[in-house]
């Protein structure tokens, strides 16, 4: 039926349409404008605003275009007297209770009601009575409400139900007393909540951080790419003068459609954080001095050249944030390698690198982002995709609505906004065994033969019905994928998880994908910002040290780019100690922190993502370049320029770039086509070493979505949401009872020789005998490794 073509006539124009399409879809597709408030092409049809009334021949009354299916031979008039009269009447009703506060309303200038009132409203109101007033509600740090302005289109309500998968807004009361809100005072908690600001056709829901800071017509809109997850959402940055005022989504059907996660929408506040580093600084005899760029770069050069002179280049390591641009990462690795060291890495939250030589050229998603919509089956391993990659989760949710099964193996029972077909919540140590059990079913079902060693290992796996259902679902569905998430990457047996996931994918004829963590995790691999491969993926002469090795080796000198090691690295304690013990640390950073003051010797101020041109390669391998939208703050400079000058300081060849696109061209020439296949090659495990059933507690570490990088950690409004680190230990009630701990108790937490005292939160999402700690919180830095044995007991004081 959808393909059956019919012909209709609109305003005398003959149009072809699909049978069953709504009239407004046809007029929209043919650039015939019909006014509307409640209709939105990504939401279900409500037909409650009545603004889209049009005249349809043979219909006794005008009909709403959004809820009228087209029929063969239908004759529609959108601009006839009857249509216009109907639209004007609706407008009069809508304006009865709408306040005349446009001059102080943030929506003014981009308000759909204001626009349509120009076209359809009367200059003078006939309404003399009192207008209704609705009390504003506080729905959290991101969204401001002015509910007197609400026209009850219910877009925000439908968004909650249909897109966010979490109905938080509703219409309570009736008649004149109907109100949009949450009924009880609560913050909306969706990770996509900011989208209701865009959806609201009036000024009832506006951006709280942006409020009263600019008029919309003063803003210049510039294109950019979001910098905080591996999706690479397309965004518009709105700039007034030289200041970023807000971020809104740009339409890209293949990536983020029309949506944006709150993290990507509100992170811009950190551009103007008080902690921004404004000028180059050097530390002399323990005190910091502001200096000019030349002096600072001289200090860097002299210190690094001392290593060259001592023939001690193994003592130089570079650690870069995977949120840096492709150009920055490419230049940093080029510089470090040209100086003579292969110690460069951007894999910060990983500890198991054992199979890095046999994996694909970058951690590929396994399929394109838009292909998630039509997925039939997915097995998520160690992933809180809803918070970590919100747009991919939204796509997965669409697939589930169309009947797909999403199955989960996690150490924490994360809340998904769609039903989960099967879930297994086990300690990190048990995760490989769970995969082995699923694999065992597949081996039995498919009668595939493979290496004896592996077969023996999985023979020990115990299979239950849940494993069977997971295996059979992957096997039965044609379009299935096995996905390794952020927690899998951080798992101490990542390569084992990867091998098992690879085998499961192979035997079930599914795809294998990685959900990578940062905006340019893919780009970092491709640009060669990894110790064992050059740009383009060729193995270098000799592999350098990975992040973990660099920290363990306590090198003499570190070059940091966009990284706060004690917050970003897998082993926070090790990172902090390595930095403190180093002889020389230079940090290319946008921010200055207390910790940096302690360990660094030179601070070079670099641009954030709005102040530099660059390129991100997202999780699906799409390369997206962008221009800087504002000039760098004070003396800060784009990191690619800093690295170029450093290259020249060292009198190295090939650092004479004119622009960042020269760097990009060179990098892309090395990279070539961004094409990969995760199934190409992986290490088949020779044996399976599953965690012995020791009585020890295991630590789990997650990074809450708004703690992921230096920028998000300084975005004021995001830091008021729930998605930040709480500096507590989360344990389930069974463990709490065993340890005689209750909520808000203080517990002594020990890891190896390190110990701290943290607050207890009883959280039944956590697997048995596990302790969840959120990373990047100052109180837990002293502990160390993200995954390890851990001890807890009630604090005596």
């Amino acid at each position: 039926m959808p393909d059956e073509k019919i012909t209709i006539e609109v305003d005398g124009q003959t149009l072809t349409a699909n049978k069953g399409q709504m009239l407004i879809e046809v007029t929209d597709a043919n650039d015939i404008y019909v006014p509307r408030f409640c209709y939105h092409n990504k939401l279900t049809i409500a037909a409650n605003c009545r603004m889209c009334l049009v005249e349809v021949e043979k219909a006794p009354k005008s009909l709403p275009a959004c809820a009228t299916p087209v029929m063969e031979g239908m004759k529609v008039k959108t601009r006839s007297k009857a249509a216009i009269d109907a639209q004007k009447s609706v407008m009069e009703f809508l304006l009865i209770n709408h306040p005349l506060d446009c001059p102080i309303c943030d929506q003014g200038g981009e308000c759909e009601l204001q626009d349509l009132a120009m076209g359809y409203g009367e200059g003078v109101s006939r309404y003399q009575e009192k207008k209704r007033v609705v009390k504003d509600k506080n729905i959290g740090p991101l969204i401001h409400t002015d509910l007197t302005r609400c026209i009850h289109c219910t877009r925000c309500v439908r968004f909650g139900e249909e897109i966010a998968g979490l109905r938080e807004m509703g219409a309570t009361g009736r008649g004149e007393n109907m109100q949009i809100g949450t009924y009880i005072e609560k913050s909306v908690s969706s990770e996509m909540s900011g989208n209701i600001i865009d959806l609201c056709p009036v000024g009832a829901l506006t951006s709280k951080p942006f409020r009263y800071s600019a008029r919309t017509w003063e803003l210049v809109q510039k294109d950019a790419i979001a910098a905080h997850d591996s999706v690479g959402s397309n965004i518009h940055i709105h700039v007034k003068g030289n200041e970023v005022k807000r971020v809104v989504p740009a339409h890209n059907e293949d990536i983020n459609e029309v949506w944006l996660s709150d993290r990507d929408r509100f992170s811009y506040e950190a551009i103007y954080s008080d902690e921004r580093l404004q000028t180059p600084m050097i530390k002399e005899a323990g005190s910091w001095h502001e200096v000019d760029w030349e002096t600072a770069l001289d200090v860097v050069k002299n210190n690094l050249q001392a290593l060259v002179a001592d023939n001690n280049l193994k003592q130089l390591g570079a650690i870069a944030s995977p949120s840096s641009t492709l150009e920055e990462l490419y230049l940093l690795q080029k510089l470090i390698r040209a100086i003579g060291s292969n110690n460069i890495d951007s894999r910060l939250k990983q500890s198991d690198f054992s199979d890095q030589d046999v994996v694909a050229s970058f951690p590929y998603l396994g399929q394109s982002i838009s292909e998630f919509d039509t997925l039939q089956s997915a097995l998520l391993i160690g992933s809180n995709v809803r918070k970590d990659q919100p747009i991919i989760n939204h796509r997965l949710r669409k697939a589930v609505i169309h009947g797909a099964s999403v199955m989960v193996l996690n150490p924490v029972d994360y809340d998904f906004n769609y039903p989960i077909a099967e879930k297994s919540i086990v300690s990190p140590g048990m995760m490989p065994m769970e995969l082995a059990s699923i694999l065992k079913v597949l081996v039995e079902e498919t009668e595939e033969i493979f290496e004896q060693g592996v077969k023996q290992s999985i023979d020990k796996a115990v299979v239950n019905d849940s494993h069977r259902r997971i295996a059979n679902n992957l096997l039965d569905e044609d379009n299935a994928i096995v996905l390794l998430g952020n927690l899998a990457t951080a798992h101490p047996q990542f390569s084992l998880l990867r091998s098992l996931a690879g085998l499961i994918a192979k035997f079930s004829e599914s795809k294998l994908g990685y959900l990578s963590e940062n905006a340019n995790s893919s780009g970092a691999w491709l640009a060669g910002a990894i110790p064992h491969r050059l740009a383009g993926g060729n193995p270098g002469s000799k592999a350098g040290m990975n992040t973990q090795q660099m920290l363990q080796a306590k090198l003499k000198a570190y070059v940091l780019m966009g990284v706060e090691p004690e917050l970003d690295c897998w082993d926070s304690r090790l990172a902090q100690d390595a930095m403190k013990d180093a002889k020389f640390v230079v940090s290319l950073t946008a921010y200055r922190s207390e910790k940096m003051n302690e360990y660094a010797d030179v601070l070079l101020p670099i641009s954030v993502f709005t102040e530099t041109s660059g390129t991100y390669i997202n999780n699906e391998g799409a390369s997206q370049s962008f221009a800087g939208v504002v000039s760098p703050l004070a003396e800060a400079r784009p990191a690619w320029k800093v690295l170029r000058v450093l290259g020249n300081c060292f009198e190295l060849d090939g650092f004479n770039y004119q622009s960042s696109s020269d760097v990009l061209d060179e990098a892309m020439q090395a990279i070539g086509d961004i094409k990969t296949d995760n199934m190409d090659k992986w290490q088949t495990p020779s044996t399976l070493k599953t965690h012995s059933k020791s009585k020890k507690l295991q630590r789990i570490t997650e990074t809450p979505m708004n703690m992921i990088d230096a920028i998000c950690r300084r975005a004021v409004s995001l830091q008021q949401t729930k998605d930040i680190s709480d500096g507590a230990i989360h344990i389930n009630s069974a463990l709490a009872n065993k340890k005689k701990l209750t909520n808000d108790d203080q517990a002594k937490v020990e890891q190896g020789e390190n110990s701290v005292t943290l607050k207890v939160i009883v959280d039944d999402r956590i697997a048995d005998d596990c302790v969840l700690i959120q990373s990047a919180h100052p109180d837990q830095i002293e502990l160390g490794a993200a995954f390890s044995d851990i001890r807890i007991e009630k604090s005596k004081c």
Binding site: E161, A171, Y183
Partner: protein, 165 residues
């Protein structure tokens, strides 16, 4: 949440909701929301609290706001504390012609409250406005706690109120 629902909703309320759930398809639990709210209101002497509404939501697998919407929409649900006997005097046309205004006046004077208010001892509550309750032949009429009283006079109202606990 489900556990809270079980502790807050009494066994009797749950049995009542279950009986209604029987009448609807298994995947359409929200159909029972009106009946469930009525039962929940009944167990709490005539009004709903946020906790009760949350419990109904959890019991039926709905989002909390969906239940708030229903409870705030229908006039038979009270979402703030009210007196335990709910008095609704019909003031629609037939009853009005038969003198319902006198009945309302009398009630207000006798109880010392206006419509929409509850007595201080928490015994009586007069609903703000009640539409036709389909007992036009017996007008003026009122409903107290689901029970109809017809052909009212001020004296008859006194008798009825005095009989209530």
């Amino acid at each position: 949440m489900t556990e809270t629902a079980i502790t807050i909703l009494t066994e009797h309320t749950r049995a009542d909701i279950d009986a209604w759930l029987e009448k609807y398809p298994k995947d359409r639990k929200q159909s029972a929301v009106l009946a469930a709210l009525r039962a929940a209101q009944h167990q709490n002497e005539g009004y709903l609290t946020t906790e009760l509404m949350d419990s109904v939501a959890a019991y039926l697998g709905l989002s909390n706001i969906a239940v708030y919407e229903v409870a705030s929409f229908y006039s038979m649900f009270e979402t703030v504390p009210v007196g335990r006997h709910s008095i609704s005097v019909c003031t629609n046309i037939s009853c009005m012609l038969m003198g319902s205004d006198t009945i309302v006046d009398h009630l207000e004077k006798k109880l010392g409250i206006k419509t929409g208010e509850s007595t201080e001892d928490g015994k009586f509550f007069i609903k703000r406005e009640e539409e036709c309750l389909a007992a036009c032949c017996g007008g003026p009429m009122m409903m107290i706690d689901h029970k109809y009283y017809e052909n009212l006079t001020p004296e008859r109202v006194d008798e009825i109120l005095d009989e209530l606990e």
